[in-house]
C-alpha cells in the first residue's frame, strides 16, 4: 500500500529547528491494521499527517500505491487523498452546523456523485455504524461515542482503501472506546487498511502490528500473531 523511505520532517520557526521525524522507514501492506505508539511529542501525529498527505515531508520518499508523492503539489495530493484516504480524529471534527447525515455526506460532495447515490450510500453507512436513528440530529445533540461513530461513517462512506485514525478513542470512555475499536476491526476484516495512533496498549492490541516511535525514530516494530 505505502512505503516510507528515509523520511524526515523538520519544523523551522525563526529561531528553533525541531526534528519531528528522522530517517523513518516504514512499509504498510494493503489490508493491514497498524498501530503507532509512543510518548507525547515523539512524532506520531506528524507521521500520520504525512501518510494522510495533510503535510509534506522535508526529505526522503513516500511511495503511495506505487507513486512517489513526496514532492507533489497540494492539488494533486488533495486528489489522491479524496480517492483513497479517510480520517478519524480524537476531537471528532464534526461540523456543528450540519446534521449527522450531512456531515457524512460531506465526504462525498467533492466526488462528483449524484445526490441520489450519495443519499443511498450515506443511509447504508449510517446503518452500518448504528447511527441511522440520529440522521437528522446535530452533532451537539449526540454523545461522544455517537459523534465518533459519525466520524467513522464519514471516513468510510467514500469506500476509502485506508483509514487514518488519530487517537480515535482519546475522548471516549472505555465502553465507547471499545465500541469504536470493534468497528475499526470489522472494517479491517472487510479489507480496509487502518493506521491508528493511540496511547492505549489495550487498543493497540486490536492491531496486527505496532510501530513504536521515540524522538522521531522508529524504535521497535512488533508483529502480533493473528488473532
Amino acid at each position: 500500500m505505502l512505503k516510507l523511505h528515509n523520511l524526515s520532517k523538520v519544523y523551522r520557526t525563526d529561531e528553533v529547528e525541531t526534528v519531528a521525524l528522522d530517517n523513518v522507514n516504514i512499509e504498510i501492506e494493503s489490508g493491514e491494521f497498524v498501530a503507532i505508539m509512543g510518548p507525547s511529542g515523539c512524532g506520531k501525529s506528524t507521521l500520520l499527517n504525512i501518510i494522510g498527505m495533510l503535510d509534506t515531508p522535508s526529505g526522503g520518499d513516500y511511495v503511495f500505491m506505487g507513486e512517489n508523492v513526496a514532492g507533489y503539489p497540494e492539488s494533486k495530493l488533495s486528489n489522491i487523498r479524496k480517492q483513497n484516504i479517510g480520517f478519524i480524529f480524537q476531537s471528532f471534527n464534526l461540523i456543528d452546523e450540519l446534521t449527522v447525515e450531512e456531515n457524512i455526506e460531506l465526504a462525498l460532495l467533492y466526488h462528483n456523485i449524484p445526490s441520489s447515490v450519495r443519499r443511498e450510500r450515506v443511509a447504508k453507512v449510517m446503518d452500518k455504524v448504528g447511527i441511522a436513528h440520529r440522521a437528522k440530529h446535530m452533532p451537539s445533540q449526540l454523545s461522544g461515542g455517537q459523534q465518533q461513530r459519525v466520524a467513522v461513517a464519514r471516513a468510510v462512506v467514500g469506500d476509502q482503501a485506508m483509514i487514518l485514525a488519530d487517537e480515535p478513542t482519546g475522548n471516549l470512555d472505555s465502553a465507547h472506546g471499545q465500541e469504536v475499536m470493534e468497528m475499526l476491526q470489522a472494517l479491517n476484516a472487510e479489507g480496509t487498511t487502518i493506521v491508528m495512533v493511540t496511547h492505549s496498549p489495550a487498543h493497540a492490541d486490536y492491531a496486527r502490528r505496532t510501530i513504536n516511535l521515540f524522538d522521531g525514530h522508529v524504535v521497535t516494530e512488533n508483529l502480533r500473531a493473528a488473532v
Partner: protein
C-alpha cells in the same frame, strides 16, 4: 454541492444571529444612506432632462458689467438676440422666448395669483408639452388663446371640461378675456418652466410701458436656443462677443458710452440651468460634498462588512479543514466563500431597498424634493447598484477565501491555536479607518451645526419681528395707502423703500473720499423718511431723513428729474469708507457723488445710522447710502402691533380690497424672509448630522460585533488570567483598553484632518465662529465613550464568568 453551500451559509447565519444581523444591517444602512444621497444628487443633476432633445437646448444668459459697480447676472437675454442668432448662426434650428411672472386671474369676482408665461408662437414646437386636451399646432391660433395646466383647470372648473371656457387675466394693468384652447399636464417638480397658464406673447399689452422695449437695455425674457444635433456649442460661444459688438447700438454721446454696461452673453445647457446658471437654485459644490459623504459612508459600511466577515473566519476554520481533508480543492473553497459573501451582500442590498423605500417619503418631505427610487426604471441604477454590491461581496469574500484556500488542515484539526492571527492586523486597520471617518464627520457636523446656529443668532441690525412687506406698492396711490394703513389702531408704522433687507440692492454710487480725489463705491437704497424707524435701525449721529423739501432727491410729483443737491444718510461703514474719523464728524459734510455716470449730486450727510444687514447675513455689511427717491419705492414695510397681528392683517386686507379691488394683495413676513436665508443651510446641517449619526452607528455596530467575537475567542485566555490571579477589574480594563486603542489611534488621525477641513470651510464666512479646543475634546471623549459603551457589556460579562467553566470547555 451548491445546496450544501447554501445550507451551511444559511445555518451559519442563523447560528450567529446577532453577528449576521450586525453584518447585514450595517451594510444595508450604509447602502441605503448612500442610495438616498445619490438619488437626490442625481435628481439635482437631472433637471429639465425630460424634454425631447434637451441636450441640444441652451438658455442664453447675460452678464452686465460696469467699471465701478458689481456685475449684474441675469438669466434672461436681450430680445434682439433671437433674430441675430437665427440670421448669423447656421447651426441654430430654433429660438423661443417667454416672459414669466405671477399674474392675476379673476374668477367669480375674486382675484387670485397664478404663474403665467407669455410665450413666442413656436413655444409648443420647441418644448414637447403633453396635451390632455387641444392640439399643440392650434393652441396659439388666436392671440386670445390660453393654454392652461391641469391643476389650473381643476382649480378653475373642477371636473368640467375646460376647453372653450373664458379666463380673465390681468395684463398691462387691465383685465382681458382669453379662451382656453388646450390643457397640458402640470409642470414636473424638477423643471424651470413653471406654469399655470401660457399665453401668446402680444406686444400690444406693453405699448407705452417705459420698461418694456425690444432693445438691448432691458432683460425680461427667457431666450432658449435649439441647436442642430452635434453642434460645437463652444465655437458658437466664441462668436457671441462678436455678435454683440456688431449688432448692439452704440451710445451717441461720450457720457452714454462711459455709462454703458458691457454685455456678455452665455449659453447655458438647459440641463445645467438648475446648478450652473445665473438663476441656479442649488449649489453643485454642496452636492459634490454630499457625494463625498456618500462615498465615506459606503467606505465605513464596506470596512465593517469586511471586518465582520473576516472575524468569522476562525469560526469556520474547522469546517474548511474538514472539507479539505475529504478532498475539497482550493478552487472549490474559494468559490464557496466568494459566493457566500456575495449572497450576504445581496441580502444586505435587499434590506437596503426596503429601508430606502420606507424612508423615501420622509426624506422627500425633509428636502422638499421628489426623489424617486426607480430601481427598475432605467438600467443605470440597477446595473450600477448590483455591480457595486457584487464587488463589495467579492472583495469581502476574497479575504476569507484566500485565507481559507491557504489554510493547512492540520493547523486547525490538531491544535488549540487560534487561527485568527493573520487577519487581526488588517481588521484593526479597518476599525481605525472606520472610526477615523466617523470622528472627522462628527467634528465636521458639530461645527457646521454651530456655525448655522451662530448665523441665526447674528444681530441683523434691525428688528424683523412683526414686520410684513407688501409688494407692488410703487403707484400714485401708494402714499394714500400708507396714510390709510397708519389710521389703523393695529399698525404701528409704515415705511417704504425700493428693496428690503435680505434681498440686497442693485444701486452702486461712487462718492469722493474725504480730502482725496479717490472715488469709492457705496450701495445705494432709495427709501422714504420712515424707513429707518420702521426697521428700528438706530441712529448714531445726526438725524434721520424727514419729509421736507431739502431732504428729497426726487419727488413723485414733478418732472421726474433728480435734484442736484440733497440730504442723505450713510451707515457707519459708509462714514468710515468716506474717511470720517467718527460718525459725528460726517454730519453736515457735503460729498461729491455720482448717482449715475451722467447724474451728479452734491450729497450732504445729515445722519449716520448703525450698520445693518441688507444682503444675506452671510455677506459682510457693505458701506451704504440712503436717500429719498419717491419714484422708486416698490416695497411697503408695515410694522404690526405685536398685541394683535391678526387684526392688523385684517385691516391691511380691508384697505387693499377697498383701494385696489382688482389686484392681488401680496405680502410676506420679514421674519420668513430672514428665515429663508438659513433654510438651505439648516437643511444641509441637519442632513449632515443625520448621515453622521448613521456613520457612527455603523461603526459602533462593527465594533460591537468584533467585541462579542473577540470575547468569545478569548474566553480561555481570560480563564487562565483569572486562575493566575487577575481581578475582575484587571480583565475588564484590559478588554476595554483593547477596544479603545483603535479609537484613540483614529482620533489622532482624524482630528488634524478635521481641524484643517473645518477651518477651510469656516473661512468662507464673513461672520464665523472661532475654532476652540473644547469641541474637539468633547468629540474625542464622546468617541471613546461610545466605544466603551459598545464593548463594556461584553467585557463585564466575560470578566465575571467563572474561569473554571471556561477552561473545562476546552
Amino acid at each position: 454541492m451548491f445546496s450544501n453551500y447554501v445550507k451551511i451559509a444559511f445555518r451559519n447565519l442563523i447560528r450567529n444571529k446577532l453577528f449576521s444581523f450586525i453584518n447585514i444591517i450595517g451594510l444595508a444602512i450604509g447602502l441605503a444612506a448612500c442610495a438616498l444621497i445619490l438619488l437626490f444628487v442625481r435628481d439635482e443633476f437631472g433637471w429639465d432632462d425630460h424634454w425631447e432633445r434637451a441636450e441640444d437646448i441652451y438658455r442664453l444668459e447675460t452678464t452686465l458689467q460696469h467699471p465701478v459697480s458689481t456685475d449684474r447676472l441675469s438669466p434672461y437675454a436681450p430680445d434682439p438676440m433671437k433674430d441675430i442668432l437665427l440670421d448669423s448662426v447656421p447651426e441654430v434650428e430654433a429660438v423661443t422666448r417667454y416672459m414669466e411672472g405671477g399674474m392675476s386671474i379673476m374668477r367669480d369676482g375674486a382675484v387670485m395669483l397664478q404663474e403665467g408665461l407669455l410665450a413666442d408662437p413656436n413655444f409648443f414646437e420647441f418644448f414637447d408639452f403633453e396635451f390632455l386636451a387641444g392640439d399643440p399646432d392650434t393652441a396659439f391660433n388666436s392671440m386670445n388663446s390660453v393654454v392652461i395646466s391641469e391643476r389650473s383647470a381643476l382649480s378653475l372648473y373642477g371636473d368640467q371640461a375646460a376647453l372653450g371656457r373664458t379666463v380673465t387675466i390681468r395684463i398691462g394693468g387691465e383685465f382681458r378675456d382669453f379662451t382656453v384652447s388646450a390643457v397640458i399636464t402640470d409642470p414636473v417638480v424638477d423643471t424651470h418652466i413653471d406654469h399655470d397658464f401660457i399665453l401668446p406673447f402680444n406686444r400690444e399689452y406693453f405699448v407705452g410701458s417705459r420698461w418694456f422695449t425690444e432693445d438691448w437695455r432691458f432683460l425680461y425674457r427667457n431666450v432658449f436656443v435649439k441647436f442642430a444635433p452635434g453642434t460645437n456649442v463652444d465655437s458658437v460661444r466664441a462668436a457671441l462677443p462678436g455678435l454683440v459688438e456688431q449688432h448692439r447700438p452704440k451710445p451717441e454721446d461720450e457720457a452714454g458710452q462711459e455709462n454703458a454696461r458691457t454685455v456678455i452673453l452665455h449659453l447655458v445647457a438647459l440641463t445645467d440651468a438648475h446648478l450652473y446658471s445665473h438663476a441656479s437654485t442649488s449649489d453643485p459644490d454642496v452636492l459634490m460634498g454630499f457625494v463625498g459623504l456618500a462615498a465615506l459612508i459606503l467606505l465605513i459600511a464596506v470596512a465593517n462588512f469586511l471586518n465582520l466577515s473576516m472575524a468569522r473566519t476562525s469560526n469556520r476554520a474547522r469546517e474548511v479543514a474538514m472539507r479539505k481533508v475529504v478532498g475539497a480543492s482550493r478552487k472549490q473553497i474559494v468559490e464557496q466563500f466568494l459566493g457566500e459573501a456575495t449572497a450576504l451582500a445581496l441580502i444586505a442590498m435587499t434590506v437596503a431597498f426596503v429601508l430606502v423605500e420606507v424612508s423615501l417619503p420622509y426624506y422627500n418631505e425633509f428636502l422638499s424634493a421628489v426623489v424617486a427610487f426607480d430601481f427598475f426604471a432605467g438600467p443605470g441604477i440597477a446595473v450600477g447598484g448590483l455591480m457595486l454590491v457584487i464587488t463589495v461581496g467579492l472583495v469581502a469574500g476574497s479575504f476569507q477565501a484566500t485565507y481559507f484556500a491557504l489554510l493547512k488542515p492540520r493547523d486547525v484539526l490538531y491544535s488549540n491555536m487560534s487561527s485568527d492571527h493573520s487577519t487581526g492586523r488588517l481588521r484593526s486597520v479597518l476599525v481605525v479607518a472606520q472610526f477615523t471617518i466617523s470622528i472627522a464627520l462628527m467634528v465636521g457636523a458639530f461645527f457646521v451645526n454651530k456655525q448655522t446656529n451662530f448665523a441665526r443668532t447674528l444681530d441683523l441690525g434691525f428688528n424683523p419681528e412683526n414686520l410684513i412687506v407688501v409688494a407692488g406698492t410703487n403707484s400714485d396711490q401708494s402714499n394714500a395707502l400708507k396714510t390709510r394703513l397708519l389710521a389703523s389702531d393695529h399698525i404701528v408704522s409704515v415705511g417704504r423703500s425700493s428693496d428690503v433687507p435680505t434681498r440686497g440692492s442693485e444701486d452702486r454710487l461712487t462718492m469722493r473720499q474725504l480730502g482725496t480725489e479717490e472715488l469709492v463705491t457705496l450701495d445705494g437704497l432709495p427709501t422714504d423718511a420712515d424707513f429707518f424707524s420702521v426697521f428700528e435701525i438706530p441712529l448714531i449721529a445726526g438725524r434721520y431723513l424727514t419729509d421736507t423739501e431739502a431732504d428729497y432727491l426726487r419727488q413723485r410729483a414733478g418732472d421726474g428729474e433728480y435734484r442736484e443737491r440733497a440730504n442723505i444718510v450713510v451707515n457707519k461703514s459708509g462714514a468710515e469708507l468716506l474717511g470720517f474719523k467718527d460718525p459725528a464728524a460726517a454730519i453736515g459734510q457735503t460729498v461729491p457723488t455720482n448717482l449715475t455716470a451722467t447724474q451728479y449730486l452734491e450729497a450732504t450727510i445729515v445722519g449716520v445710522v448703525d450698520d445693518f444687514h441688507f444682503d444675506s447675513a452671510r455677506d459682510v455689511i457693505r458701506p451704504g447710502i440712503y436717500y429719498l427717491d419717491e419714484r422708486r419705492l416698490a416695497e411697503m414695510t408695515v410694522r404690526l402691533s405685536r398685541f394683535n397681528r391678526e387684526a392688523a392683517i385684517a385691516d391691511l386686507e380691508a384697505v387693499w380690497r377697498d383701494m385696489f379691488p382688482d389686484q392681488v394683495l401680496f405680502y410676506s413676513y420679514m421674519g420668513d424672509l430672514v428665515e429663508e436665508q438659513y433654510q438651505t443651510e439648516d437643511q444641509l446641517s441637519t442632513a449632515l448630522m443625520a448621515f453622521t449619526l448613521l456613520a457612527v452607528t455603523i461603526s459602533c455596530l462593527g465594533l460591537y460585533g468584533l467585541a462579542s467575537f473577540a470575547v468569545d475567542r478569548r474566553t480561555k485566555e481570560i480563564g487562565i488570567r483569572r486562575v493566575l490571579g487577575a481581578s475582575f477589574t484587571d480583565v475588564a480594563v484590559m478588554l476595554i483598553w483593547q477596544f479603545s486603542k483603535p479609537i484613540v489611534i483614529a482620533l489622532l488621525v482624524a482630528l488634524p484632518i478635521a481641524v484643517y477641513m473645518v477651518n477651510d470651510w469656516l473661512s468662507g464666512f464673513a461672520y464665523r465662529i472661532d475654532m476652540e479646543a473644547a469641541p474637539f475634546v468633547m468629540v474625542a471623549l464622546t468617541a471613546v465613550a461610545i466605544g466603551w459603551a459598545t464593548v463594556a457589556g461584553h467585557a463585564f460579562k466575560v470578566a465575571r464568568a467563572n474561569p473554571v467553566k471556561a477552561l473545562r470547555y476546552e
